[in-house]
Symmetry: C4
Subunit: 235 residues, 4 copies
């Protein structure tokens, strides 16, 4: 097997397995969330197929596309080990265009995740950013989690909204208005971690605010938490 | 085995297995929720037996009734493969009359689900429809999720309330006042999907409104989301 | 084995297994909840041992006591099949006195359950009864779920509070103030069902009231729901 | 094997296994929480390694440090049974300094737990102590759960804040402001129990207060509950 095919097989396994973290942390119901990963060094990505239950995912069902979201002929197989000219039964996630736009415009990003996780989506429905009032948020997000514009599926509007919002922020998560969170990472695993932490802080800050106003954290201390955490773990 | 018996056996398996989705997504406690499916091309339906725990359900225990909810002699068996003159130990769900009424009056419906899922029922107790403030609601429900009338069990009041409310709506879900949600689909699987998504949006919109008012979505954009989604997946 | 020993063995198995419903529905954490069952026709009860994790419960570890909560010599065994003069390692649940008081004063009761389930306990902390605004509450509780007095552990105060409150109510559940729910049933299984349904309606009515006032149900209709349900299933 | 190595092996197993209680009760996501235990009679502690998933923990991966948080040469092994000069792949949890400070300054403490459990952290974000309005809180905490100061990671500030707050309180739990709970116990198991109960009462009191004010409990009765409970179970 060529180095490229080995690399694709590795990303297929990672992307497939990481969906189990979405269900474990109850970030998704039915088929409403997806993980993708860039194939390192190539203009290719691997993403969940559309409409397949999380229980039924296998590495072979993951779809390889170019960075415009078009499935690549000959790289999608019906079963393990077979290389055919595209699996006619599967199309990539309906959110593929947004993932692809991020990979084209943010070369440092190696993984993208989209969910409609409950608390993050509740903030998104009000179009309200999540203020940084937890040391854990300082560590992971380096400030508040920003809101992106309302955008309809069907063209590059969602991708543009994600990239424009994240370019000006420490945060690896953006809340797309009335829609839900998208997160990024240096690889798919880190993007999933950001999705998990985004819902966790969305829930905790929501619950804290139900009975009063959380205490702010001094911005210099947020910066200090973020710098320390990113130096220890990288991003 | 005749084609009819094969078809019934298939619906029995589907209806039985789909109850696992109700418990997986915590839409039900104890025995308080039920799935039914129409036998395609026949005036027959298959529904959960009354009072049996979800853990103990098997395809053979599902009850075949006519579209007035009466168990059909000779089609209900005590164990796999046996055809007797009705299983004397099992009666169909106490909600069977409501399911049957829907099948009689909505020929395009192939599956019905009833739960008391927490957040949907909380909206129902206030008699308040769920406003469409999430793109996911545009996709799945094409607008708000409507409220049906208060109705007592024992006659056709519940079934009538469901049918009258859903006939004037894009939504496959109705919140029966002080009671809980009923959902429909082209088959039992789609009705279960609607029940899962109904609770998901009921929860997310509830949580969003706890700390302010969600931003409305332009009705033309809701229509656009709904049209696109229904053309891709059908309903 | 004598009929009495067989009967005790059966109640031990039932009481042991029913604790799995408390954890399944997340009514308890750590060891903070317990189920008991009356031995039919005898002044004996079977209850969870104190301080044992739910994972480690076996029928043999359940403790047989008289109706004053005193372990019965010769009926508590260290391991399956052995009959010794009391298992010196295990004492009955610290809530045994309250269970025992209920059995002494309510001969129709065959099972008692105590939990600190979250939403029911939240109502109990405010000393506020749960209003009957759900058809499911009409079915199961026949009206509101009442509040019992504040009472300290150590004498018969808790048991008296339970009995006095339940004697004047349709409800099989009472919320002991600042403490948590106790439920009763004709047997242990029905008392567990009442504990599950009590938390379910406590949660649903709480959530409904967070965003407004639930619509009341006409008392005559509540009575009608309760009568119908009790005639179908008994209690 | 020497008595010391046997004792360390025992604490490794206990500390490792207790992390399963953090995930079971959903007190942690990803890798954001940790348990430690003192090695009885020695100036040594055992703690979770940094950045390892809960699914992947084994007793051998636990890190043995002195009471300043420095891994001990020769006591950390790469695999079961091997004793080498330190496992170069693993470092102790980034919260080790706080645990170590507690062991140095509270000799009666044998276990420490840190989580960011949702409801406890929500109170911590407001800097608000949890009032004692539940009999279960009287039993376990003997009063309110106090708040510790805002403190940054990197020196002894967090440890000092924990110790100063807990020294003046019956409570085995402290809510560090904008951060989350730390709990202590006579051993690791009791510290984990305190973490579980802390989240449980944080959630229940939060929910109770959402719809009104919980009824206070007379301080003399709280003291009576606490004394009784501690005499029965010790701490």
């Amino acid at each position: 097997m060529s180095a490229l095919l080995e690399s694709i097989a590795k990303v297929r396994r990672e992307v497939c397995e990481l969906h189990a973290e979405l269900t474990r942390y109850q970030l998704v119901v039915w088929t409403a969330g997806n993980v993708s990963g860039r194939v390192p060094g190539h203009d290719l990505m691997v993403i969940k197929p559309s409409g397949v239950s999380y229980d039924d995912l296998t590495p072979e069902l993951m779809v390889v596309t170019d960075l415009y979201g078009t499935p690549v002929r000959g790289m999608n197989t019906g079963s393990a080990g077979t290389v055919d000219w595209g699996n006619p039964d599967l199309s990539p996630s309906s959110d593929t265009a947004a993932h692809a736009y991020v990979y084209r415009h943010m070369p440092e990003v190696g993984g993208v995740v989209h969910t409609h996780s409950t608390y993050a989506t509740a903030w998104a429905a009000r179009g309200e950013e999540i203020p940084c009032v937890l040391t854990m948020m300082g560590d992971e997000f380096g400030g508040s989690i920003p809101v992106g514009p309302f955008a309809l599926i069907g063209d590059d509007s969602i991708g543009q909204g994600i990239v424009e919002t994240l370019k000006g922020s420490n945060s690896p998560a953006v809340l797309m208005q009335n829609h839900g969170p998208f997160t990024i990472g240096k690889d798919a695993r880190n993007a999933v971690k950001a999705a998990v932490m985004c819902e966790e802080v969305a829930r905790t800050v929501h619950i804290s605010r139900q009975l009063g106003e959380p205490l702010p954290i001094d911005p210099a201390k947020i910066e200090s938490l973020f710098d320390r955490y990113q130096n220890v773990y990288g991003r």
